[in-house]
């Protein structure tokens, strides 16, 4: 069933369109940087952008940092919010269920397909960023050492595997959003409401992160550790927030997948 859902997702023109759009923004940034050579000063603007003018390879990470706060969560919300509600709206949910596809099985397959979508999208963004960086920006040889965020130098090998870990981390970071959107998707027959609901949760979370009064809540907000992958480029790597981030996402998946399961398996399907 997971294979069927993945096939279904990637045969939709919309999926590829979304991935295309995700790549567009970092590409535009790369082009602008290449033309103007005006990078943000270190410590300002999206992470790593100040470094890419000298080393284009790092633009792979910069590209992730560019899409992570908004673009990627929107894409994930749209795909996950459409998972059940979209089938309901299209009238295909009832036919899936009487095929029969077990309700639990369907939920898990949908979440898995969303996960694969996120993985593909993030990987494509990273690759696009890398290619755009190499072609347009700083053309230091691949073998050149890179200055870490902490100021020490990292060998190309170290950088490569740190980039790989950040890709995985970004993918995992999106699981919480996916689970929230999937849960809302079981609540309504309108995919739009589900996606917007999940986005509302994220906007709320981002807002609370800027509020000092919400300090005690902050460790539990889904967007709290999103940008912690920057810590992977410190020397030595600062694992604390990265691990907390992964744990928090797992918690969100457990809670909202559970809620989605409880709701969906006892629900009258009247769509």
């Amino acid at each position: 069933m997971i294979v069927v859902e993945i096939r279904k997702l990637f045969r939709r023109p919309r999926t590829w369109f979304t991935i295309g759009l995700l790549d567009l923004l970092p590409t535009i940034v790369a082009v602008l940087l290449a033309i103007t050579h005006i990078g943000p000063r270190p410590g300002e603007g999206p992470a790593f952008l100040s470094a890419v003018l000298t080393n284009g390879s790092l633009f792979a990470v910069a590209a992730l940092a560019i899409v992570l706060p908004l673009f990627l969560p929107i894409a994930v919300s749209v795909v996950a919010g459409d998972a059940i509600a979209g089938e309901a709206q299209g009238g295909t949910l009832r036919y899936l269920l009487i095929r029969p596809v077990g309700r639990t099985r369907l939920l898990v397959a949908k979440l898995a397909a969303t996960f694969v979508f996120v993985a593909v999208a993030v990987l494509v963004v990273a690759i696009t960023g890398f290619v755009a960086g190499r072609l347009l920006l700083g053309d230091q040889p691949l073998s050149a050492a890179v200055t870490s965020v902490s100021g020490s130098t990292l060998s190309p090998g170290q950088v490569a595997w740190r980039i790989a870990i950040s890709v995985v981390y970004v993918v995992l970071s999106m699981l919480g959003v996916a689970a929230i959107a999937l849960f809302l998707s079981t609540m309504t027959d309108s995919p739009l409401s589900a996606s917007l609901g999940a986005l509302a949760a994220l906007v709320g979370s981002s807002l609370l992160l800027t509020l000092d009064a919400a300090h005690s809540l902050q460790p539990y907000l889904p967007t709290r550790y999103w940008l912690s992958f920057v810590d992977l480029f410190r020397d030595p790597i600062l694992w604390r927030n990265v691990l907390r981030g992964v744990g928090l996402q797992c918690l969100y998946v457990a809670v909202f997948l559970g809620a989605a399961w409880a709701n969906f398996t006892t629900k009258d399907v009247t769509s």
Binding site: M1, V3, V4, R7, K8, R11, R12, P13, G90, G91, T92, L93, R94, Y95, L96, L97, I98, R99, P100, V101, G102, R105, T266, D268, V269, T270
Partner: protein, 305 residues
């Protein structure tokens, strides 16, 4: 084949389906009649495990539903409230996905999937349009595709909700022929419809739902048995009425309703006495009369569907 006991579904305080005892026998073409909003679709959805009953039980193939859904549903083909398909994919691709869905035991064998899909497309008359995206299908073609999906597993039981919706008269004829063929091949058919004529032409048994209650469940042949009266049309009607006296139960213009056990006898008598007969007919109740007599008017104002 299908048996429900005290099947009830409440939405809030309203009982959409109220203590329904259905009984569908192996080999039936069961016509499930009812006005819009009488609870037909809710009942069908409960049979298929989509809507969960408030109380009462359902048995299909002698197994409890929805508990045994995993083993019961693969043996059922269904069309519920209109077809559903992915618009951007072709009819054929839709059926292939459909067939690949579900746990391995519920799936069609992969080996002959292509062949089976082509066969059902041909069966419902979509052979030529199978490669077109469903977005470009007419309502009738979508309906046929839905039917193809229902037939994919060669089901023992077909549950069809308004299967001829959106079809032209020719299409309705083709589908009727197909259903009769399938039934002759041993498929039991549960047909939910508000079209009395359709049910009258196809079905062997009829159940009538009115505001959530099953008010009638009977063999069609029994319902349509002669009433014991003969309808006579004749230009000499007044004279015949005088002649037969109390046997004439009703007269309007040149039409008479005569209580009479043997129509052939009556015909011979009348002709012998020199009366001219235009038409002589055994009176049967139409399904429409039966249904209207069993239901109260204005079910649309009743509980929601």
């Amino acid at each position: 084949m299908i048996k429900t006991g005290g099947l009830t579904k409440r939405f809030g305080s309203v009982a959409a389906v109220d203590r329904v005892d259905l009984q569908v026998v192996d080999g039936d073409i069961y016509g499930f009649l009812g006005a819009n909003g009488s609870g037909k679709t809710t009942t069908v959805r409960m049979l298929l495990g989509l809507v969960l009953a408030t109380s009462g039980d359902i048995e299909i193939f002698g197994r409890p539903m929805p508990r045994a859904a995993a083993t019961v549903l693969p043996r059922i083909g269904a069309l519920v409230e209109g077809p559903g398909a992915y618009g951007h994919l072709s009819g054929r691709a839709n059926l292939l996905l459909d067939d690949a869905s579900g746990r391995p035991s519920a799936r069609g064998p992969r080996r002959d999937r292509q062949r089976r899909v082509d066969a059902v497309l041909e069966q419902v008359g979509l052979g030529a349009a199978g490669a077109k995206p469903v977005r470009a299908y007419s309502l009738g073609m979508r309906q046929r595709l839905g039917l193809a999906g229902a037939l994919l597993r060669e089901p023992e039981l077909l549950v069809l909700d308004e299967p001829t919706n959106g079809l032209d008269p020719q299409g309705i004829g083709e589908i009727r022929k197909l259903l009769l063929e399938l039934n002759a091949g041993g498929t039991t058919i549960f047909l939910s419809s508000h079209l009395l004529a359709e049910v009258e032409q196809l079905c062997t048994r009829v159940g009538v739902l009115d505001r959530g209650r099953l008010v009638l469940q009977e063999e069609l042949a029994t319902l349509r048995a002669p009433t014991g009266r003969v309808l006579v049309r004749s230009p000499d009607a007044p004279a015949i009425a005088g002649e037969l006296g109390a046997l004439v139960e009703h007269r309007s213009g040149c039409e008479l309703a005569v209580r009479c056990a043997d129509p052939a006898d009556l015909n011979a008598t009348l002709v012998e006495r020199g009366y001219r007969i235009t038409e002589l007919l055994i009176e049967r109740r139409t399904l429409e009369q039966t249904v209207l007599a069993a239901t109260e008017p204005g079910a649309d104002s009743g509980p929601p569907p």
